[in-house]
């Protein structure tokens, strides 16, 4: 009896900790379990793809068969049985929704629960409720939250994209990648796989073979995208992998800011998530890509949780192009992720701002690659790793300058904060300069939250957990400020939640 009480108690705590852990009871359409050429054909057929796309997928699949999983990351997990996974799941009720009215209310409810009021957005035509004044903004000016267009992806399919008409007026294409394949095949064909080729790595090849949806963005020349774009990923179905693919093209002189958010239900089995994101910035274009990743991290003992194996890469293809990655990684049991920039165009610039928090038994191996190819290219890396519980948190980075990359510049700062003494923080920076004119700077620190800081905060009335959250939010402030204003307050809260139970 006492045991049962304990179990209930633990359940409560867990649910409370990961507040997105619910499951949506919705009928799904599955492809048969496992992976072979027929499954690849099945997915391609479901999407009504052109023949070249199927060939592209099959090519990826055949490459994947020849590849091995990477073993160099500082993470360990039981071998994945790739035949024990569903590669396609779609909510049954929504074959081809044209508008919100055709969408299963249960889905909409799910997104509302997650804090994304799609319907309201549509109704209010974008007059977003005014955000509370940010406490970081000390002068007391009202911060008016902007409008955000959202593409919501549920398991394998894109459910709905908001603000389409208004974006279309500006010439911006923002839709699911399946739709882009139907409506703008020439753009997809030109750019898909041009940054992350099919055979780039094991997980990227798998993704290329079976990806089922994701977002597509094209911003025409000299256009500033009139609003934030955002994709929200939700894994729901059991034993299902999520493989989304995002492709963003910023044409000459354009600007776009994009944010992705992710959550998944709590399940005892681990779930696989292998996404690919490709960014292309042409001459003088700028892409700002932000991620708030909050996949289910597994329970305190390391059971369940999402394996997040993601390939993200941006190509500064034109002169003066700029790509900036900002990531807040709080979820997933295992994170294997290195958003990178290829600085091909002269005078192009890459940035990577990262907050990676690990608690419980989470394992994070994340960082970036800045590949300097063009002249006068510059890059900046600010990484803040926070390790608590029994977690492991590794920053792995590469900064390289090609022979022709004269005057390449990089500044890297890696700070680690440890909470407790059972966790680990590691920094693995690689530097390769093939030109003498390159200037690379690297700074790294490791610190602990001091008892004095904790006591000082608590003597002012903060609880232990509030004190940790506040100190950590201070530690990551430089990176937090890179996030779009609309998501800053939310992210600060998330940081607090993900560190619950890390002290005491």
């Amino acid at each position: 009896m006492a045991d049962l009480d304990t179990i209930e108690l633990v359940k409560d705590i867990e649910v409370d900790k990961y507040k997105y852990g619910f499951t949506t009871d919705i009928e799904s359409d599955f492809a048969p379990k496992g992976l072979n050429e027929d499954i690849v054909k099945f997915i391609s057929a479901k999407k009504g793809e052109p023949a070249w796309m199927l060939e592209w997928r099959l090519d990826a699949y055949r490459r994947w068969l020849q590849m091995d999983e990477p073993a160099w990351a500082r993470v360990s997990f039981p071998k994945i049985d790739f035949q024990d996974i569903y590669y396609y799941a779609a909510p049954k009720s929504m074959a081809n929704p044209k508008s919100l009215d055709e969408i299963d209310p249960k889905l909409l409810e799910t997104y509302t629960k997650l804090g994304i009021p799609l319907k309201e957005q549509e109704i209010l035509a974008g007059v977003r409720k005014q955000g509370e004044k940010s406490t970081l903004d000390d002068d007391g000016n009202e911060v008016v939250a902007g409008r955000v267009a959202i593409d919501a992806v549920f398991d394998s399919v894109s459910v709905v994209t908001t603000f389409k008409d208004e974006l279309a007026k500006a010439g911006v294409i923002f839709c699911s990648i399946s739709e882009a394949l139907r409506e703008h095949p020439e753009l997809v064909k030109k750019y898909l796989g041009s940054v992350v080729p099919q055979g780039d790595n094991f997980y990227a090849a798998l993704n290329a073979a079976v990806f089922s949806d994701g977002s597509f963005v094209y911003v025409p020349p000299n256009t500033r995208c009139p609003m934030e774009l955002s994709t929200y990923f939700r894994m729901n179905a059991k034993n299902t992998g999520q493989f989304e693919r995002t492709l963003i093209i910023a044409d000459k002189g354009s600007y776009v800011s994009y944010l992705e958010g992710c959550t998944a239900p709590m399940r005892e089995e681990s779930q696989l998530h292998a996404a690919v994101v490709e960014l292309i910035a042409l001459d003088d274009a700028e892409i700002k890509y932000s991620t708030v990743q909050n996949w289910y991290p597994g329970d305190a003992e390391g059971k369940g949780g999402v394996y997040n194996f993601v390939t993200k890469r941006g190509d500064c293809r034109g002169r003066g192009a700029k790509i900036s990655w900002t990531q807040v990684e709080t979820g997933s049991a295992i994170t294997w992720k290195y958003p990178s920039c290829i600085l091909r165009g002269d005078n192009s610039r890459g940035e990577f701002y990262s907050i990676a928090i690990s608690n419980g038994r989470q394992q994070v191996d994340s960082g970036t690659k800045m590949i300097h190819l063009g002249k006068n290219t510059s890059s900046r890396i600010i990484s803040k790793g926070i390790a608590a519980g029994r977690s492991d948190n590794t920053y792995r980075g590469l900064v390289s300058a090609h022979r022709k990359a004269t005057n390449a510049r990089n500044f890297t700062q890696c700070d680690s904060l440890l909470i407790g003494d059972k966790c680990g923080a590691h920094t693995v920076p690689y530097i390769e300069a093939k030109t003498l004119s390159a200037q690379f700077e690297h700074e790294a620190t490791t610190s602990k939250i001091s008892d004095d800081q904790m006591f000082y905060c608590m003597s002012r009335g903060l609880s232990q957990e509030e004190a940790v959250a506040l100190i950590v939010n201070g530690f990551v402030r430089d990176v937090l400020q890179q996030l779009p204003m609309e998501f800053m307050a939310e992210t600060q809260k998330l940081i607090g939640i993900s560190l619950e139970g890390s002290v005491g």
């Binding site: 509370e132 000390d138 000082y456 003597s459 009335g461």
Partner: protein
């Protein structure tokens, strides 16, 4: 308001006794000054009152507003009105002073079951209190105590006190590091908070502060206990004669 009885305190992981039978009674509306040589246990007393770890109470009791203070967590004590202005304020990188104040005030309000202040109301409150202490906007934007001069740190402590409006204020050497003008500003700030339902314990080495903040009682702490108590004149006496006399008494 505060009743300290025969308090014995040792270090938690060493056999070293620091407070050795300290007894002190403080009523609402009173200001008590505590003076005493370096190492006599003044800061330790302030830490024990606010609940810092690392000390073990081996004997005696502390009652605050009728409750056992020693049984409460530091945050509960703060919410119930105990405030310590630190002798050495702690830095919190990346957290703006303004934000720190807001989180502190709202956590206390939450713990007391009161409504949190809206951002505009909060801003107004802080600006008004800061102006009185000659604290400008730029300092409020800077991270808590990071890069503050000695005097700025002390003023920032008093600002926190003025915003949190505690019932029992313990000021640990708030005057050290202040220039003459700053001393006056801080003292005015402290005097502005004197009220019939608020008590203060002012720890200092210098009689000068007590010219500005006139105490109702002065105590001499030596070797972990109070060896002499008196009125304001006791401070003048100490200034003239030093502590030698009391050191032998305590031994």
């Amino acid at each position: 308001m505060l009743e300290i009885k025969n308090l014995h305190v040792k270090l938690a992981d060493e056999d070293r006794v620091i407070l050795n039978g300290l007894t002190l009674s403080v009523n609402a509306g009173e200001v008590h000054a505590i003076m005493g040589p370096n190492g006599s246990g003044k800061s330790t007393l302030s830490y024990v009152l606010s609940g810092r770890e690392g000390y073990e109470v081996t004997e005696g009791s502390v009652t605050y507003k009728g409750e056992d203070l020693l049984a409460m967590t530091p945050s509960d004590r703060a919410a119930k009105g105990v405030f310590l202005a630190f002798q050495y304020p702690i830095e919190i990188p990346g957290v703006a002073t303004m934000q720190f104040l807001k989180v502190a005030l709202n956590s206390q309000k939450k713990a007391r079951g009161e409504k949190e202040l809206s951002t505009p109301d909060f801003m107004r409150l802080v600006k008004e209190r800061a102006a009185k202490l000659n604290i400008g906007q730029d300092m409020l934007k800077r991270p808590v105590n990071v890069g503050f001069s000695g005097g700025e740190k002390k003023r920032a402590e008093i600002l926190q006190m003025a915003v949190l409006e505690p019932a029992l204020c313990v000021l640990d050497e708030t005057d050290s590091g202040l220039d003459i003008d700053a001393l006056r500003v801080v003292a005015d700030g402290v005097n502005g908070l004197r009220s019939p339902d608020r008590a203060m314990i002012v720890i200092t080495h210098y009689q000068r502060l007590l010219d500005y903040i006139v105490p109702d009682h002065v105590h001499v702490l030596s070797k972990g206990r109070i060896v002499k108590s008196g009125g304001k004149s006791l401070a003048l006496e100490l200034e003239a004669k030093g502590y030698a006399e009391f050191e032998s008494e305590a031994a």
